[in-house]
Symmetry: C2
Subunit: 105 residues, 2 copies
């Protein structure tokens, strides 16, 4: 789903990934992480698409909210599994959203 | 493709879309826009994935580079076609990338 208009400034985490061939447990964990993220303080929304590469963008009220989510124990364990098994390569970018524009037919 | 490490601060444009069923000319135009963007001053890279929704993230040296790309005539025509024919809905976010982390097996 597209995350509808939010009021800048707020933060985005752009997580771009290439996965391996050993994806046991990956889908379940990704789903669980989305569920957990939604319970975090300062969570604003998430957008995700996968084709040749995967792009997941999560939106947060503040940098503090992102750090708290990073420090979540279950999330830390999932990240370790990700590096050990699921991700061939990833890039993670932390951004401040300064402006936004929407369109709907 | 994943855009490899760039040196913050720089800018990201997160373009999230839901397309219509009338996609005549869409793929060609998307490809042409990517080609054109690469020729723009201040262009750093592009990442793209489409599943239920499409997410395209383009990276730029500065806000000025993003404004110049926005004002490109062919790009403006493509955006108009996009709103008339191809996009049911989109959200566009302009962000300053403050930090980034990479991983590769």
């Amino acid at each position: 789903m597209i995350v509808d208009h939010l009021k800048p400034p707020y933060y985005a985490v752009i997580f771009t990934t290439i996965v391996t061939d050993t994806l046991e447990g990956y889908a379940e964990t990704a789903e669980r992480m989305e569920e957990l993220a939604k319970q975090q303080k300062g969570y604003l929304g998430i957008e995700s698409a996968r084709a040749e590469i995967g792009i997941t963008v999560s939106y947060w009220k503040s940098l503090e909210a992102i750090v708290e989510w990073k420090n979540n124990v279950e999330h830390t364990e999932a990240r370790n599994l990700g590096r050990e098994q699921w991700y061939k390569k990833y890039q993670l970018r932390i951004c401040k959203v300064e402006r936004e524009y929407g369109f709907e037919q």
